[in-house]
Symmetry: C2
Subunit: 353 residues, 2 copies
């Protein structure tokens, strides 16, 4: 009802408290380590609904130690990027897809509904204020991290009566700068039917660190997540996975696993499918892909390329997979690889060439 | 190494900052809503290891907005209780089991190792300082919530270089005060093989709220979590599950699902198994239990009682299960029920009768 969950109205209510001392902007840094001068915070409580959105100097949050996010991971996030075009104008890449996914995550996490376009309006105002942080060079950009946490100040697993939506922005730097090596072991599962793998909830990530460290101990950079008895290929690290191959019927195909509840509906994933379908040069399919099918294709030289996609990494060529004590060497990337073509095309769109 | 993760030493280092204004202690309140006057905090960082443990006035935490716990649920907790015995002395119930489980959760979450007995020492000091909060009456007690969160102040899914271990304490009140009604639907899964269901990590809980609300919409209090094609009975809400029945071979049996990675190793669960095995009056088994087996037993009047167990709820009789549009009425609880006998015996141990 409007009484318990009025959508916040940005245009009318947004309050801005500018920082009195701006930070110096460092040169290229690691992803996610240097934040801009301001942040957006909007509080919600069950009695009064959404409170006045506030843009204020970047700084620590003050949270009750029983806060639902800290105990029960009632939390979710989004990731999107803003680019400075060749025409000097700033552009967000498909932000409505992020707002839509954020709404779905909020519903799944039992956090309150919010008005997507009003939140996007607040984010645009934040970007405007910190616009000098958006890099001027090439495909460099600023990474935007909307975060939504339950802040109920009492214990017990229950729907929170308080919540905080906040947005921080950081230098994107380079996420992965070389081709990726993956490690796969069916003893770890990232997501499962009836779970939350298709939402960007915090709980999907913390449980993956242990496997990621094991991948590292084998000299690999990320985990390739398998699923089920037939070892379906699902995601790689925090990326969606694509195969560019000649399929079992001899047709050229770009394939990625379908959104069956265990796969994160990536914005870059969707954009790649949209692009490739527009090209109409080969089959583009959302279908199950097993490790057995990949191995057969590799053996029969039907695999052209395997790559991952995500907002942070964009498009990332996969060079090898260590699985069942075998190190599978995948076809190399070159300028004719599909991932190179997609990366170039995405950049052209993002900087509006 | 000792350099990167020296265990903190409580006896030598603990610093106490007493609150200058103590709260009034309210009468019976809801579980987890009223906290004591002090809390324990211990910081860790990868360079210097564990810092000085601090007991300080209960209050908000100041956290970086990129904090790993808030984005990626790099977090875990424990729950244990302190009782005031008939002899007026305070007793923790099997706290080493909680310390042991907390260590395992920390390993799985990629949070640093800690010295279990030193942490327990710090917790005992905290209890001593807030000892007036431990109720004087019967089975009432104070609930202790150790919490351990990653506080890395940068984005990117990675092992945190900073962490905070803290302990808060609250009035326990009554968690469930009547017999429970459960709702089961295989479309939701709590935990799965290769996941984190056997650890007390935050991500196991936030994802369950949605199903809990759906249970509520059917007039039920908690979810009965099923697993797999054969609808195995795994947990109920945040409780372990027990069947007291005449099994398929005609033998009286107390049964609970085995610790196969999808089941939380509850301290109350273990204590019930220990007690029942000591009695040696009927079979005590950790075995798979399916919804089909439960329905058969119910139809053939072989079910004596179904109950849940947990630190918060202790032992809780289950009155009904709504499943596949059928409302299964389970045998009533009376003073001869196993759950009543176990509850009485546990209380006797906890208050040292």
């Amino acid at each position: 009802s409007l009484r318990t969950a009025p959508f916040f109205r940005m245009a009318a209510d947004l309050v801005v408290q500018l920082s009195t001392s701006l930070k110096t902007k460092p040169d290229v840094v690691d992803f996610g380590t240097v934040f801009t001068d301001h942040m957006l915070t909007v509080e919600w409580n069950a009695n009064d609904g959404w409170q006045t959105p506030l843009i204020r100097p970047f700084g620590d949050l003050s949270l009750h130690p029983a806060c639902s996010a800290l105990h029960y991971a009632v939390e979710l996030f989004e990731g999107l990027k803003v680019y400075r075009g060749d025409d000097k104008r700033l552009r967000l890449f498909r932000p409505l897809l992020n707002m839509e996914r954020m709404s779905k995550s909020a519903e799944r996490a039992c956090l309150p509904a919010f008005d997507q376009s009003e939140l996007l309006g607040c984010i645009k105002r934040l970007i405007e204020i910190d616009q000098d942080w958006v890099p001027h060079l090439g495909p460099a950009c600023l990474y935007i991290r909307p975060t939504f946490i339950g802040t109920e100040p009492s214990l017990g697993v229950k729907k929170p009566n308080r919540a905080l939506l906040y947005v921080i922005m950081c230098q994107a730097g380079s996420y992965f700068n070389t081709e990726l090596s993956l490690w796969a072991d069916p003893k770890y599962t990232r997501a499962w039917k009836g779970g939350t793998g298709d939402c960007k909830m915090g709980g999907n990530y913390g449980g993956t660190l242990f496997a990621q460290l094991e991948a590292g101990s084998y000299g690999c950079q990320q985990v390739l997540w398998l699923y089920g008895e037939d070892h379906q290929i699902t995601e790689g690290g925090t990326m969606n996975i694509f195969l560019h191959w000649i399929n079992e019927d001899g047709d050229e195909e770009l394939a990625t696993p379908p959104l069956d509840g265990t796969i994160l509906p990536g914005v870059t994933r969707q954009s790649i499918l949209d692009l490739a379908r527009k090209w109409d040069e080969f089959k583009v399919l959302e279908r199950y892909l097993t490790m057995g099918q990949l191995c057969s294709a590799l053996k029969q030289q039907r695999l052209k390329e395997m790559f991952g996609s995500g907002t942070a990494c964009r498009v990332c060529h996969i060079g090898s997979i260590l699985v069942f004590f075998q190190n599978l060497q995948l076809p190399n990337q070159d300028k004719h690889s599909l991932s190179s073509r997609i990366a170039t095309e995405l950049t052209d769109i993002q900087v509006s060439r």
